[in-house]
Each structure stands twice: as structure tokens, then as C-alpha cells.
């Protein structure tokens, strides 16, 4: 994974009450979420990568050493874009002035390796705000400007420190689509700090799981979500995010026909989505139940053949199961939570072919 365009970071040092000892690599594309409870050192890691804070360690981005034993590039010499938790716009400049601060007032024109001014304004819906003062913007607008400002510094790596946590729920829902659009259009890697699993499920491609300054696990989102030995899969709200492709639309019932590795799903969705569109499907472990025979008559839309890959006890009464879709069990992974009693009564076992009944599958994004 230490590809030439990837990111490799390792930091160690004391931070307030605990020791940070984090080492991870991140691919040079897509959104990587740094996820963990508040105060686990996520923000400090981001600040170290940006050079705003100095701990012992190393940091390489796209083959360039930003920090190692001998080097420590000052923050203004690192090609990062940084979106802070609070938008932190310059109050003495207009929105345009803020956006063009890094370019010293000259709007950059889009080209290979250059993010254009007009494109950014369009992408983030800022056209109507350009001449306004930051004080006259709503919280969501401010954060969008902050994202645009960071992009227009032509970063090779975009760092986002809980960009949504200071916003109310409604504003968050207004911004998420912009971030998703960013995800599709942006060629640069993004490191996204959050303690909100819903943001991870919607946005992340990769996940670095942190706890008390240490990396618990890191890898592609699906691998981490479905690793039943990790705390993530054992939580009440555990879920997996599946990649799905639109195959068709049932206009009569308003249902989308989706193709997922190892099965087909019917999910309520808008008819505007064209065939071939990629979507992300969120399936909670609590929404999946197991049956041994294919049910003939059920109100549940999605019943798919699958195999039990492995299982772990969850306390006294429950089990968490890792399923793989498809009769051969070679499709995408799902999590299911069942009671110990059902496990015993159905004589479930690892490797057993079953049917997964999915009570609800929500479109998470795009």
C-alpha cells in the first residue's frame, strides 16, 4: 500500500493524558476515515501530518518526505488542504477573497493537476455567495467555502477534521451530498477525521480505527466493518456498506433493482437514477435475520442465499455472524445479529448455507 502516491504516517509522543503511538498507510485515492472516540488522538494525527504540531515520527506523501529523522517541512511548504472543525474563514475577506487566498487573488484555471476556480465554485454551489462577508453566511455555507478554499490551495492531500460536527443535523444533511460529489470528482486522497459512524458509512473507502492513540485496525472499509473480531462489528449499530449498481427501476412500486456482488436487491429509490449508476447500500447487522429454507411467502423484499463464514458470541444471549452472499458464499459480506437461542435451535454453524432476510437496506449515498 506504500504506493508512490500513497500516504505513510507514523507518529509517537505524549499528548496530554496518553501516549500517541500511531502508524498507518493510506492509499493515494479515495476517502480514508480516521475513526475513533473523542480524544483518541485523531485530530493530533491530522495536525502532525499538516505540520501544525510536531511529534517524533515520519510522514511521507506521494513519495515526498514531509517529516523524517532529518526533515520537518513547515506547514506552508506542505501541499495539504486543511478543513478545520469550525470553518475558520478570514473575517476580513469576502468569500472570494477567502477562496483565492492561497492563489494570491488570481483565479486558477482548471488543468492537469490544477483545480479550477469556476469548477470549485460550481461543485460546492458558491456562485451566489462570492461577494459576501463570512459573517453573513450560514454555518453550512461557511463550511462549504472552507472546503473550497482548501481545494483551491491545490493540495496533494486533503485533510478534514470533523468538518460536519459543528453543524446541526439539517445542515449536515445539506453538506453531505457536496462531500459525496467531491468524492466522485476529486483525484486527490482525503483523510477524514470523524467520530460519527454514519459519516464513515456514507463517505469512506478506507478506514483507520483508532483507540487511545493507537491504531486498532486499518484497511478497506468493508474489510474492517465485517471483521467480527473488531469492536466495530460488535456494536449495536454495526453495519456494512455495499457497493451496488443500478440495473433497473420498477416504476409501479418505486423500487430500484440493484446488483451487488453475490445478489440482487430491491430498494425504494428515485427513478432518476440511470442504469449503471453506482450506489452505496447500508445494511445494519440488526436488520438481517437467518432462515434455513427459502421462504415462499414473506413481506420481506430481499431474501438472498448466503453462507455463514464465521460467528462470535456477543455477550450471553446474542451472536454476530459474518455472512457471504451467494450460494457458494463468494459474494459480498454481510453482518447478522441473532439470538443464541435461534443459533442453537436452527443448528447454525460456520460454513452452513442459509438465507439472509434483509428487513431494510438503506441507500447510503450517491
Amino acid at each position: 500500500m506504500t504506493a508512490a502516491n500513497g500516504i505513510a504516517a507514523a507518529f509517537s509522543g505524549r499528548l496530554g493524558g496518553f501516549a500517541l503511538e500511531a502508524e498507518f498507510t493510506v492509499p493515494g485515492r479515495g476517502i480514508t476515515a480516521l475513526f475513533g472516540p473523542s480524544g483518541c488522538g485523531k485530530t493530533s494525527i491530522l495536525r502532525c501530518i499538516a505540520g501544525l504540531q510536531r511529534l517524533d515520527g515520519s510522514c511521507r506523501v506521494g513519495g515526498e518526505a514531509w517529516q523524517d529523522g532529518r526533515t520537518f517541512l513547515p506547514p506552508h511548504r506542505r501541499a495539504v488542504g486543511y478543513v478545520f472543525q469550525e470553518a475558520s474563514l478570514f473575517p476580513h475577506l469576502t468569500v472570494r477573497g477567502n477562496l483565492l487566498y492561497a492563489a494570491r487573488g488570481k483565479p486558477p484555471v482548471a488543468g492537469p493537476g490544477t483545480i479550477g476556480f469556476d469548477e470549485t465554485v460550481g461543485l460546492l454551489g458558491l456562485a451566489g455567495l462570492l461577494e459576501r462577508a463570512p459573517a453573513k453566511l450560514s454555518g453550512g455555507e461557511r463550511q462549504r467555502v472552507a472546503v473550497g478554499r482548501a481545494l483551491l490551495s491545490q493540495p496533494r492531500l486533503l485533510l478534514m477534521d470533523e468538518p460536519l460536527s459543528a453543524l446541526d443535523r439539517e445542515t449536515r444533511d445539506e453538506i453531505l451530498p457536496f462531500l459525496e460529489k467531491l468524492h466522485e470528482t476529486l483525484a486527490i486522497p482525503v483523510l477524514y477525521v470523524t467520530h460519527d459512524i454514519a459519516e464513515v458509512e456514507r463517505l469512506a473507502d478506507h478506514l483507520v480505527l483508532l483507540r487511545a492513540g493507537k491504531v486498532v485496525a486499518s484497511g478497506p472499509l468493508g474489510d474492517i466493518q465485517s471483521d467480527i473480531d473488531l469492536p466495530l462489528a460488535r456494536q449495536r449499530d454495526a453495519a456494512v456498506s455495499l457497493d451496488a449498481v443500478v440495473v433497473g427501476h420498477d416504476a409501479a412500486y418505486g423500487l430500484l433493482d440493484l446488483d451487488v456482488d453475490g445478489g440482487r436487491f430491491l430498494v425504494p429509490g428515485s427513478p432518476e437514477l440511470e442504469a449503471g449508476t453506482h450506489l452505496r447500500l447500508r445494511i445494519g447487522a440488526g436488520d438481517v435475520s437467518i432462515t434455513l429454507q427459502e421462504p415462499r411467502s414473506t413481506s420481506i423484499l430481499n431474501v438472498l442465499p448466503a453462507r455463514i463464514v464465521s460467528s462470535r458470541a456477543l455477550g450471553e444471549r446474542e451472536m454476530v455472524l459474518l455472512l457471504a452472499l451467494g450460494r457458494e458464499g463468494d459474494g459480498a459480506n454481510l453482518l447478522a445479529r441473532v439470538t443464541k437461542r435461534s443459533w442453537d435451535q436452527l443448528k447454525l454453524a460456520d460454513g452452513l448455507p442459509v438465507f439472509a432476510q434483509i428487513k431494510s437496506a438503506a441507500l447510503a449515498s450517491r
Binding site: 513547515p74 506552508h76 490551495s153
Partner: protein, 228 residues
């Protein structure tokens, strides 16, 4: 107005020259000091801050006495003066400027330091992540954000220099056109029982002080409404 004697005008002009020059020097000297006091982690920075603030507490005569020694023929001021063939900086306009800079320093440094501190670390960090060198960030972010502090500092420094008396008397004396500023002139008029002139100058000072403070408060209010 015609009966205003030329000696009054000379005193007024001298005072304004002194205050303007002092304020200009203070802004240039005081800004880096204020920045350092606002940002430094050094444990002894509060000691420096206390030295800067000394003129607030010391009797002007004490300050004036040591300035007199320093500016005199045997002090560093005398050595400096010898560069252009003079014997001393005491009882000269240049000496008065140096004394005023020392005397008014806290009035300029403190508001600017407060403004830099109120700004917090964040704007400078944002500027750095937007590729601004520390110097560029200082001029394009820190200075504009601290504008209200600069206004307050400049006005206080100017007004305080206009109003100084003890220090001037100690190091400047009463030389018309050279060191005889307004406050000294008033004292002099009273001493020589020219109450009418004294009253005119004193009343002028009251009006000046009022206008300065009112203008400053209005300007600050406007900046706060516009800026943040």
C-alpha cells in the same frame, strides 16, 4: 483667534509633531514587541511585559530622572549625540521623542498585544495550510485582524504623549520651539500669571481629549460591526 500669541502656536505645533512622531515610532517598535508577548512561550516573557508596563506605575519624575541620566553627556544618549557633534540628547527635541516613546510604550503595546491574543492561533494556522509563509500570514491576516487594537494603541499613544508633563519637564525643560510643549506651556503661563492663555490651552486640551476618545469609541464600534 488673532490674539492667540505665536508662542501658543509654536507650542501646539511642537506638541503635535512630537506626538505624531512618537506614535509612528511606537507602532513600528511596539508591534513586534506585542506579537512576541502574545505568542512567545518563554517563561520570562511576563518579566518583559512588566518592564514594558513600568511607565504606567512609575512617577514620571523617576522615569524622567533616569532618562536624563541616560540621555546626558555621560550616558548612551550622549554617545549617540556625539555622532553628529552634539554633547547631549537631554533638553533637545530628539531626547523628548526618545523619552516619549519609553513613556507611552505600554499604551500602544498593550492594546495590540490584546488584539493579537484575542485572534487566537487558528487564523495563522489556516494561513499556513494555505501556503502563506509566516511573514505573509502576519501581514495579510494578523495585521488586518488586529486593526481595532492598532487604532486603540495609536490613539492612546498619541493622546498620552500630548498629555505628558513630568517627563518633559525633567528631560526637556522649557525651550520654546524645541521642548516647550503644551503641557509645559500651560504650567508656564500659570506661573507667570497669564491665566487667559493658560485657560485657552487647558480648555483646548479638554475638547481635544473628548473628541479623541469619542472618535475612538465610534470607530471601534464600527470596526467590530463590520469585521467580525
Amino acid at each position: 483667534m488673532q490674539d492667540l500669541s505665536p508662542e501658543i502656536w509654536t507650542a501646539v505645533r511642537l506638541t503635535i509633531e512630537l506626538a505624531a512622531l512618537t506614535t509612528a515610532i511606537l507602532l513600528v517598535v511596539g508591534t513586534p514587541v506585542a506579537w512576541w508577548l502574545a505568542r512567545s512561550q518563554a517563561w520570562w516573557k511576563e518579566a518583559v511585559a512588566a518592564v514594558v508596563a513600568l511607565p504606567l506605575v512609575l512617577p514620571p519624575t523617576v522615569l524622567g530622572f533616569y532618562l536624563l541620566v541616560a540621555l546626558g553627556p555621560d550616558g548612551p544618549g550622549g554617545a549617540l549625540a556625539s555622532l553628529w557633534g552634539a554633547r547631549t540628547l537631554a533638553f533637545t527635541f530628539e531626547g523628548l521623542v526618545i523619552g516619549s516613546v519609553v513613556y507611552s510604550l505600554p499604551f500602544v503595546v498593550q492594546p495590540i498585544r490584546n488584539a493579537f491574543e484575542a485572534m487566537g492561533e487558528r487564523p495563522m494556522e489556516v494561513a499556513a495550510t494555505l501556503r502563506a509563509s509566516p511573514l505573509r500570514a502576519f501581514f495579510t491576516v494578523a495585521l488586518p485582524l488586529a486593526r481595532p487594537g492598532f487604532l486603540t494603541g495609536a490613539v492612546l499613544g498619541f493622546a498620552h504623549t500630548v498629555g505628558e508633563f513630568g517627563v518633559v519637564l525633567m528631560i526637556g525643560g522649557n525651550i520654546p520651539g524645541e521642548t516647550r510643549v503644551l503641557s509645559v506651556a500651560i504650567y508656564d503661563f500659570v506661573e507667570t500669571l497669564r491665566w487667559r492663555e493658560a485657560n485657552m490651552l487647558a480648555a483646548g486640551m479638554v475638547v481635544f481629549a473628548f473628541v479623541v476618545i469619542l472618535a475612538m469609541m465610534l470607530a471601534e464600534k464600527r470596526m467590530r460591526r463590520a469585521g467580525r
